[in-house]
C-alpha cells in the first residue's frame, strides 16, 4: 500500500473507533443514570459526539492531564454525558464514577480538579455563554493562549442573557471563544420552530458579528474538520458552531419527540433501551 493509502486507512480506523466510542458512552450513560434514577437521556445523546470530539481529540491537556483549554457546559442538563467520557479518558475509574453518580455522591469532587465542563455548572440556562465570554476576556488580558469552548443548547438561546453575551463577545473581539450550539431543534414541550422560530439562526449570529460554521453534530469527520482549525483561525471574531443534531440520537424511538427532555429509563426499561442502542457512522 502507498504511504497515502496507509494514512487514509489509519484515519478511517481512527474515525471508526470514535463512532464505537459513541456507542459505548451512550451505553455507560444509561447504566450510570438509570441507577441514579434521574437524568436527561435525550439531550445527552444529542451532544455525545460533540463532547467526545472536544474532550478526546480537540482540547489540549498538559502533562498532568489538566486542561489547557477551558470548557463551559452551559446546557447543564447535558452534564451527565461528561461522566462516562472522563471515565473513558482515565481521569476517573469506573468505581469512582459509580461512587460519584449516586444519591449522596460528591458533586463538588469533579470541580475540585477543574476538569473540563466543570468550570461552572450550567443548568440555569443562559449564564454559561456570558461566563465563557468573561473567561475568554480575562485570558486575553492575561495573555494566556487558551481557547474557551462553551456548549449551549439551542432552546437555551431563548434566554435574553445569551444575546447580551453574544453582543459582548463580538464587541470585545473574543476570537478565543468558541460557542457550540447543540441544534437539536427541540425544547421541552415542542420543536423550536413551532414555539418561537430561531431560523434563520446562523444569520442571527452573523448579524451579531460572529463567525459561523454549520455542521452535522453527529459526524466526527465534520466535527474534527471544524474544531481542530479553531487554533489557527485568522479572524478577530468569536466563532459559533451550529451543530445540527438529533435529540435522543442512538435510540430510534426516543428521537425527535417532544416531552422526552427529562426522560431517563430505569430498571427493565433501561435494559431494553441499551438493547435498542444503534451504531451509526462508518
Amino acid at each position: 500500500m502507498t504511504e497515502a493509502g496507509t494514512r487514509a486507512v489509519k484515519a478511517f480506523d481512527e474515525i471508526k473507533s470514535y463512532y464505537e466510542k459513541s456507542f459505548k458512552m451512550r451505553q455507560r450513560f444509561i447504566e450510570l443514570f438509570s441507577n441514579l434514577g434521574f437524568g436527561h437521556l435525550t439531550t445527552a445523546f444529542s451532544e455525545t459526539e460533540i463532547l467526545i470530539a472536544l474532550f478526546e481529540k480537540v482540547m489540549r491537556f498538559d502533562e498532568d492531564r489538566k486542561p489547557i483549554d477551558k470548557f463551559v457546559l452551559s446546557k447543564g442538563h447535558g452534564a451527565g454525558m461528561v461522566y462516562p467520557i472522563l471515565e473513558d479518558m482515565g481521569i476517573f475509574s469506573k468505581e469512582e464514577t459509580d461512587e460519584m453518580v449516586q444519591i449522596g455522591g460528591d458533586l463538588a469532587k469533579i470541580r475540585e480538579f477543574v476538569y473540563p465542563g466543570f468550570e461552572f455548572y450550567g443548568g440555569s440556562l443562559g449564564i454559561g455563554i456570558g461566563m465563557a465570554a468573561g473567561l475568554a476576556l480575562g485570558l486575553k488580558q492575561n495573555r494566556e493562549d487558551r481557547i474557551v469552548f462553551c456548549l449551549c443548547g439551542d432552546a437555551e438561546c431563548y434566554e435574553g442573557s445569551v444575546w447580551e453575551a453574544m453582543l459582548f463577545a463580538a464587541h470585545n473581539r473574543l476570537n478565543n471563544l468558541v460557542v457550540i450550539v447543540d441544534r437539536n431543534y427541540l425544547g421541552v414541550s415542542d420543536f423550536t420552530e413551532n414555539m418561537c422560530a430561531f431560523e434563520p439562526f446562523a444569520d442571527k449570529w452573523k448579524s451579531c458579528n460572529w463567525d459561523v460554521r454549520e455542521i452535522n453534530g453527529h459526524s466526527y469527520e465534520e466535527l474534527f474538520d471544524t474544531l481542530v482549525n479553531v487554533y489557527k483561525r485568522p479572524s478577530s471574531k468569536p466563532l459559533c458552531i451550529i451543530a445540527d443534531t438529533v435529540k435522543g440520537k442512538g435510540v430510534g424511538d426516543l428521537c425527535n419527540i417532544p416531552l422526552r427532555h427529562g426522560y431517563m429509563p430505569t430498571g427493565e426499561n433501561a435494559d431494553n433501551t441499551i438493547k435498542k442502542l444503534e451504531r451509526f457512522g462508518i
Partner: protein, 301 residues
C-alpha cells in the same frame, strides 16, 4: 465625599498599587471612575445595560484570576440578575463584588421601577453573599480593604445622600457587621444605610446599632439587644425580610423576648401612584424623625 466615590477612589488606589481588579459596568460611570477609566481602560469593561451578563462576565473574569467589581444602577443588579447572583455568587462562591448605585428610595423621583426596596430582603435569603450598606465613608473604604484582602461574594449599595465620615476605622469591627453609638438606654434603635447615617448625626440620647454588613454576628447582636427593654428598627426598604425581620428572627432563634417595633416601607395603600420623592414617601410611610422621636418617648405606637 459620597460613599460611592470613596469606594471607587479606594479601588483606583489599590489598582495603582498593583492589585488585579477589573470593573464591569452596566452603562454607568462616575466622576470617581474617570481616573480609573483613563489609566486602566482595559480593566473597565462596559457590557451595556445588561445586568445578567455583567454578573456572568464577572464570573468568567474571576475564573481567569481577577478580582471583579460589577457596577450597576439599583435595583437591577439584584432584581434582574438574581439568578446569576444565586448560582455564581451564593452557590459557586465566585468572589464578585456587586456595587450598586442608589439605595432604597434614593431615586424615588424615577418611580417604582428604580427604587431598590427589596434588594436587602432578597439577598438575605442567600448564603455566602455579604450585604454591605455603608453609612459613612469609613465603611465604604473598609469594604474595599476587605474585598482585596478576603475575596468573597459581596453586594454593596451606595446611598447618594451619605457623604460624611462618621466613624474612625478603629471603631468598626467589619467581621461583627454592626457598630454601636450613643448612650446606653432603655430603647435601642437598629438601623442601616441612610437611617443609620441620619441617626448617628442626630445624636439622639439612645443606643444606635448600625447594621452595616449582613449577615452580622448573630450571637453578639443578640447579646447587645438583650440589654434593652424595647427595640425600634428603622430602614429604607420593605418591612418583609429587611433588618426588622432579621432582628425578630435573631431574637427568636436565641430565645429572647423583647418588644420590637418595625419602621419600614409597608405600602399599606399600595405602591406610590404620584410623582414622588424620598421625603414624600418617608412622610407617607411614617418614616420620619418626628415619628421616631414620638415612638422613643412612648407617645406613638
Amino acid at each position: 465625599m459620597n460613599v460611592r466615590d470613596r469606594f471607587f477612589y479606594e479601588i483606583y488606589g489599590q489598582v495603582k498599587s498593583g492589585e488585579d481588579v477589573s470593573l464591569v459596568s452596566t452603562d454607568l460611570g462616575a466622576p470617581s471612575l474617570d481616573d480609573f477609566r483613563r489609566d486602566f481602560p482595559q480593566r473597565f469593561v462596559n457590557v451595556g445595560i445588561a445586568e445578567q451578563n455583567a454578573i456572568a462576565v464577572a464570573g468568567g473574569l474571576c475564573l481567569a484570576g481577577k478580582k471583579v467589581v460589577t457596577y450597576g444602577l439599583n435595583p437591577f443588579p439584584v432584581t434582574r440578575a438574581f439568578d446569576q447572583i444565586r448560582n455564581l455568587m451564593a452557590s459557586l462562591e465566585l468572589p464578585i463584588t456587586v456595587a450598586a448605585l442608589k439605595a432604597g428610595t434614593a431615586t424615588a423621583e424615577a418611580g417604582m421601577s428604580h427604587m431598590a426596596l427589596e434588594n436587602i430582603s432578597l439577598l438575605r435569603t442567600l448564603k455566602n453573599v455579604r450585604i454591605i450598606s455603608p453609612s459613612d465613608e469609613t465603611i465604604s473604604k473598609m469594604a474595599v480593604d476587605e474585598m482585596i484582602s478576603r475575596p468573597a461574594p459581596r453586594y454593596i449599595q451606595f446611598d447618594p445622600f451619605i457623604t460624611d465620615t462618621l466613624y474612625d476605622e478603629a471603631e468598626i469591627d467589619y467581621k461583627k457587621g454592626f457598630a454601636l453609638s450613643g448612650p446606653k438606654s432603655d430603647v435601642a434603635i437598629v438601623a442601616t444605610g441612610i437611617w443609620a447615617h441620619k441617626l448617628k448625626k442626630e445624636n439622639l440620647p439612645v443606643r444606635l446599632i448600625d447594621c452595616f454588613a449582613l449577615p452580622l454576628c448573630e450571637k453578639e447582636f443578640c447579646d447587645e439587644l438583650k440589654q434593652y427593654k424595647r427595640i425600634i428598627t428603622i430602614e429604607d426598604g420593605v418591612d418583609r425580610g429587611g433588618i426588622g425581620s432579621m432582628t425578630l428572627e435573631i431574637l427568636n432563634d436565641f430565645g429572647a423576648v423583647i418588644p420590637v417595633e418595625r419602621m419600614a416601607l409597608k405600602f399599606g395603600n399600595g405602591y406610590p401612584r404620584v410623582f414622588s420623592n424620598r421625603n414624600l414617601i418617608f412622610e407617607q410611610e411614617g418614616l420620619t424623625l418626628d415619628h421616631l422621636k414620638k415612638k422613643l418617648e412612648g407617645r406613638e405606637s
